[in-house]
């Protein structure tokens, strides 16, 4: 039992914090917010050079073999600077699904390119009717003589606009009709039959909705051997939630630091705001919730490779709790900044919006408390 960072992990944390502090400032974030791409390809290249894109990928395909804890260290630093590069979409979701489900050829074709920064991915899974139920997929993939034909609609695809390849989940239909199995299909983003409409995402970055109208894909577009991909999807989303939780911790820490500084400087009634006990106690509560969020995010990362129910309960527990902490810390940060907190002139709002996006993604606190309870009864 040891929760201290290893030397390598400390190096990773220090270099990530240094990079974010050096490359990400308010000007950069404002520029990105108005950029049609929403992130900087130059920064993405640096991610590749720093080894961050290769970090969790298997070593035999150009990766560094890191785990969820290392991703969490990186993501917490990303949160501090509100990084908007498509790291979760490409590395934590896309590449992880290929690494877990793909054949050797499929892995060889994609993962080294993810690692060197030349291939970006996105994962198109959510559908409007499914809400947050990962098992509910209406998009269909029908076997044809040449391969597959996909039809359906996907929503909230993180960074789909930037992806070269999009991994689409679909219910496999064979000769007898729906098979009950979900398949994962790798589709080039430019394929005819795939229409993508992207939008600026709350809190930075972009997302898109995708219409699939008779999208024809070759036989080998299906990842792996056709086993039901639901367990892999749950695995990948659980790990993404752990990663996003760590990012939320970084965001909350920045909000706490910023708000603390502000209450020391801002004077009313002839004294700093922080001289008031009601303000000090609020900040103490915020600090406590940031610390709790950090603990539960770390727990989700440490259990990311545990058996499915244990992993899923840890991930849902973290998602629910961090979401709750995030709303408190975010809302109180705005409250303690007073009127200025509600303006676009300060960055408090930008950080707050990213937290709300976090809370919404893959289901909010209520959904994950319920999932945690449900899984507990199965365990």
């Amino acid at each position: 039992m040891d929760l201290n960072l290893s030397d390598e992990q400390r190096l990773l944390r220090d270099s990530a914090e240094r990079f974010v502090a050096g490359s990400y400032d308010a000007d950069h974030r404002r520029k990105m917010a108005n950029d049609p791409l929403g992130f900087s390809p130059a920064v993405w290249k640096q991610f590749a050079e720093l080894g961050w894109l290769a970090l969790p990928l298997p070593e035999e395909f150009g990766g560094l073999g890191g785990g969820a804890v290392e991703i969490g260290i990186l993501m917490e630093a990303f949160g501090r600077g509100l990084v908007s590069e498509p790291y979760v979409a490409t590395v934590v979701l896309g590449a992880a699904l290929i690494a877990r489900c793909g054949t050797n050829e499929q892995k060889q074709a994609s993962l080294p390119k993810v690692a060197d920064g030349s291939l970006k991915l996105a994962f198109a899974h959510s559908e409007r009717a499914a809400r947050f139920d990962l098992a509910k997929v209406a998009t269909s993939a029908t076997k044809t003589a040449q391969g597959w034909r996909l039809s359906g609609s996907k929503i909230a695809v993180l960074d789909g606009h930037a992806a070269d390849d999009i991994i689409v989940s679909a219910l496999v239909h064979d000769h007898h009709g729906p098979s009950g199995r979900i398949g994962l299909f790798v589709a080039p983003a430019t394929a005819p039959g795939l229409a993508l409409s992207d939008y600026a995402r709350l809190g930075g970055g972009r997302a898109c909705n995708i219409e699939l109208a008779d999208l024809h894909l070759p036989e080998d577009a299906l990842l792996g051997d056709g086993h039901d991909a639901l367990p892999a999807i749950e695995w990948a989303v659980d790990r993404a939630m752990a990663a996003l939780g760590a990012e939320a911790v970084g965001i909350m820490q920045t909000l706490l630091d910023t708000t603390l500084d502000y209450t020391k400087i801002r004077k009313q009634f002839g004294r700093p705001l922080s001289a008031n006990q009601v303000i000090r106690h609020r900040l103490a509560d915020m600090a406590m919730q940031v610390d709790e969020a950090r603990s539960i995010a770390l727990r989700a990362a440490l259990k990311a490779a545990s058996p499915p129910v244990e992993r899923a309960r840890a991930a849902s527990g973290a998602k629910a709790k961090i979401g709750k902490c995030a709303r408190f810390v975010g809302e109180q940060s705005i409250q303690l900044h007073g009127g200025m907190g509600v303006t676009e002139e300060l960055e408090v709002g930008a950080y707050f919006k990213r937290l709300i996006a976090f809370d919404t993604l893959f289901g909010g606190s209520a959904h994950h408390y319920a999932r945690h309870a449900e899984l507990g009864r199965k365990a």
Partner: protein, 398 residues
Amino acid sequence: MDLSFNAEERAFQSEVRGFIAKNLTEEMKRATALTPSVFSDPDIGTAWQRALHANGWGAPGWPVEYGGPPWTPAQRWIFETECARAGVPNVNVMGVKMVGPVIIGFGSPEQKNFYLPRILSGEDYWCQGYSEPGSGSDLSSLKTRAVRDGDDYIINGTKIWTTHAHHANRMFALVRTSDGPRQQDGISFILIDMKTPGITTRPILTIGGDHEVNQVFFDDVRVPVANRVGEEGKGWTYGKYLLEFERGSGIASAKLREGLKAIADLAESDLTGRAIDSPDIATRISEVEIDIDALEMTELRVLSALQTGQNPGAVSSILKLRNSEIRQAVTRLGVDVIGHDALAVEPMRPLYRLNHEPAVPEEMLTMVPEYLNGRAYTIFGGTSEIQRDIIAKMMLGI
């Protein structure tokens, strides 16, 4: 980073389990489960302390030369966790965890030689004389006065919320020995024999119906100056040192988990009409479980820091605050889970020696008293408001 235990730690874990299996009687276990106050009564608690002592485990946290076990922080964690899982008696902490470290840190060689072995063996039973009717959160305003008379102090005043004063043969107390410009400066730390003439004890019943705390009166009580720990007027420093221990031996999550498990078991049983089938109850159980998970991780982070000699800092206030709040959430859940059976009041104590059939199943008996008595968790040992002051000052610098 690694959450799992290594081979050595796993071996220690089975050693602890073996010890518990051999020494924890069914009677002790039942009595502990049926105690709705913080600490087990001495008939139960002292028996367990003796068993621990006989095995060399009487004083976790003490340096080895004073009789503490040679444990790493991880072993300490395993010990506390296994004890909580098994439901061992809640030994009164006033001796081993509170006055013991102060005597070790600041006591004279004579005091160490005399008191420490008697704490270890359970021969002495201690209570804490800190709060006064006029001095709660503002503890250093205390007025109980010790006036020098030759080789004695003569003590007059009163202490309140004194846990187990009615069982204790000794008290450690903060008393005023002088008046200075700073009220913290005139306080001394003194060890008092409870049989000294002039001491009277008045029971105070808490809202759960338990007699755990008291008010103690001092009427010209003569105590040898040799019973003062450390320097005269430095008692505040020693007293604060002790409060650090009171706020967190840092291992509370395992006990919270067991408390929640007992309630979750009730919620899944027909006794409560399967309360768990209500989505609200199921979700709240999860919510509390996740809060415990987070607290446990914070405890393990602190422990890891300790293992490498780092100072965890003001986090003991966070641990105390969250532990007390979560404990209250657990007990609140207990009341909600038992539903209508929460209406039944059982005034007789102890609950493990009732001479009649209780109105509700035995495993429900403690739920309401624990919830009611448990309101004190956010008050004693420094209220939550004081803890927030400390967090703001020590962690945030405001």
